[in-house]
């Protein structure tokens, strides 16, 4: 019996000539928050559709809570909650009615779902607007309602497909806070384009491109494996060009990039810094600082900087 909440083995999805997923392997631990990143067309949507049983794989296998998606779709759907990219709220039903419909689709008893819906509306700050139609809600409120809907039946695994796209920073942080509060009580699988979101929320992050898994680990692990190089920012009072030429000639300097009074210097290793400091003795240096690698640096280095269609 597998212990991971989500297991994908050699998962492949072929659409005619296009391979959307190519021998994709993945394991998501119980109770963790797992982030999936990838540029447009990387295969994220296909993967999430297969994991949520909306689509069948061409080959390979997927287990959600130990159940095979090919044979136990209904059972799996009773254990998962899905927040899709689109709000998919019923605009002809009130906020509360949207949640009631979802509970009925899950075959819940009225007594059970009424209490649960009250709790969720309160928790999401929507109790006062429960009789209003979603069309009258702000984007953030609609998103909170979609999250509440996905939680009505108390799922064991929650799929969040770009949950904060289009939200203002305040609403985004409210969703983040709520997702954090769920941590541990259920497994959360999150796809996002916001790298900061993945960095803030996820225990582990996978980066995929062209249907393949290209990196997997914690934020720090991903940053660490970017490369052994170290980048420093050096700010000068004046004469940047002449100092840039001086540093460029040094063996331990890999790349150098000048902008205004600032030099970005990539060193072979941090030990080279003392050589740089010696070389700059007497130079009008205002500041030398280590430039932290961001998840975005990792993402761009792995998937390229080119815009995808």
């Amino acid at each position: 019996m597998p212990t991971a909440a989500i297991i994908a083995r050699s998962l492949t999805k072929q659409y005619a000539a296009l391979t959307a997923l190519n021998s994709f392997d993945l394991e998501v631990a119980q109770g963790s928050i797992f982030g999936l990143l990838g540029p447009n067309g990387a295969g994220k949507t296909t993967l999430i559709r297969i994991l949520t049983t909306l689509m069948r794989q061409s080959s390979g296998e997927v287990f959600i809570q130990g159940l095979d998606t090919r044979t136990a779709g209904r059972q799996i759907r009773s254990m998962i909650g899905v927040v899709s990219q689109e709000n998919s709220l019923d605009r002809y039903l009130t906020a509360r009615e949207n949640l009631v419909l979802h509970a009925r689709l899950h075959g819940m008893d009225k007594q059970l779902y009424s209490r649960r819906i009250d709790e969720l509306l309160e928790l999401m700050g929507l109790a006062g607007r429960q009789k209003d139609f979603p069309d009258t809600f702000s984007g953030g409120m609609q998103r909170r309602l979609v999250v509440a809907r996905a939680l009505v039946h108390q799922p064991q695994v929650l799929f969040l497909d770009e949950p904060t796209t289009g939200l203002d920073p305040q609403s985004r942080r409210a969703v983040w806070d709520y997702v954090r509060s769920l941590a541990g009580s259920m497994t959360i699988f999150l796809t996002t384009h916001y790298l900061e979101e993945a960095e803030q929320l996820c225990d582990r992050i996978a980066i995929m491109d062209h249907g393949r898994l290209i990196a997997l680990g914690s934020t720090q692990e991903l940053k660490d494996r970017l490369s052994g190089t170290t980048v420093y920012e050096i700010e000068f009072e004046r004469n940047v060009a002449s100092y840039a030429a001086l540093l460029k000639a040094m063996a331990c300097v890999r790349t150098i990039d000048a902008k205004d009074n600032l030099l970005h210097v990539t060193l072979e290793c941090w030990e080279c810094l003392s050589e740089i400091v010696t070389a700059l003795n007497g130079a009008p240096v205002r500041r030398i600082s280590l430039k932290e690698r961001t998840l975005e640096d990792v993402f761009i280095s792995l998937t390229g900087a080119g815009v995808r269609e």
């Binding site: 909306l54 998919s88 039903l93 419909l101 979802h102 689709l105």
Partner: protein, 252 residues
């Protein structure tokens, strides 16, 4: 098959219908009533009797049937298209523990219910403002046609709403296929008006069996088993097709 999903979606649809029932009924009654006023009253003097009945009475049962099946078709086609393409609610249904068939059964039942409710509303209005009368016991025979007829058009609506991604295509299909089928089925004229060579082809249409059979059932209580079977079998075939096509579309 567990049908709690169908029931939940049907209850949702009825909730929405209940909220808008007045405006829905006004819109639904207006169209057949206008036709009745124009043809049944305006043209009656010029046309005279058709198959022994005044023209107004000849077209009245057909107008009730037309309202019912049109309502069933329109509700199914637009509801499914809207939920699939605009509101994406079908996606939200599909991630719950219900089957694709349950969604489609719900939508067919909703279309069917709309058809029956709106058909009855138009029937009552025609009954109230025209001299059209029928023995109440004929109503039962009439429902034997109206129920599978509404189901037939509801299934057709589900197929159109599943296959067509653009709203303008839905309108075109209605203009090119649905309305001609209804009008060709002897709604405004007796089948005997067709050339003899064409009559067997027209009779083979399930819509002819529906309109012709329903009229006879309501006016004279004459229930043609052949027509009932024709409508019911067509509804069953379209139901199987609707489920198959929707499942296939969802798997894409």
């Amino acid at each position: 098959m567990i049908l709690h999903g169908s029931l939940a979606i049907w209850i949702r649809d009825m909730q929405v219908l209940r909220r808008a029932i007045f405006s829905e009924l006004v819109a639904v009654v207006a169209y057949p009533l206008t036709i009745y006023l124009a043809f049944g009253i305006g043209m009656q003097g010029y046309i005279g009797a058709v198959e022994g009945s005044p023209y107004g009475l000849f077209i009245a049962p057909g107008l009730i049937t037309m309202t019912a099946v049109n309502a069933a078709y329109n509700e199914s086609v637009w509801s499914l298209w809207f939920h699939r393409r605009v509101q994406f609610t079908v996606e939200s249904y599909r991630v719950t523990p219900i089957s694709v068939s349950e969604i489609i059964i719900a939508k067919i039942c909703t279309g069917f219910t709309h058809g029956i409710i709106k058909g009855c509303a138009v029937g009552l209005v025609i009954f109230a403002i025209t001299p059209f009368r029928f023995p109440l016991e004929h109503l039962l025979s009439y429902l034997v046609f109206l129920i599978p007829g509404s189901a037939l058009f509801s299934c057709a609506g589900v197929i159109s709403g599943t296959v067509m991604d653009k709203p303008e295509t839905i309108g075109k299909v209605e203009a090119v296929l649905v309305m001609p089928l209804i009008f060709m089925s002897g709604l405004f004229f007796p089948l005997s008006s067709y050339p003899a060579a064409v009559i067997p082809w027209v009779r083979a249409l399930p819509t002819t069996a529906l309109f012709e059979g329903a009229r006879r059932a309501l006016v004279s209580g004459d229930m043609s088993l052949m027509y009932v079977l024709q409508v019911s079998l067509s509804a069953l075939v379209l139901f199987a097709l609707a489920v198959g096509i929707f499942r296939r579309k969802m798997a894409e």
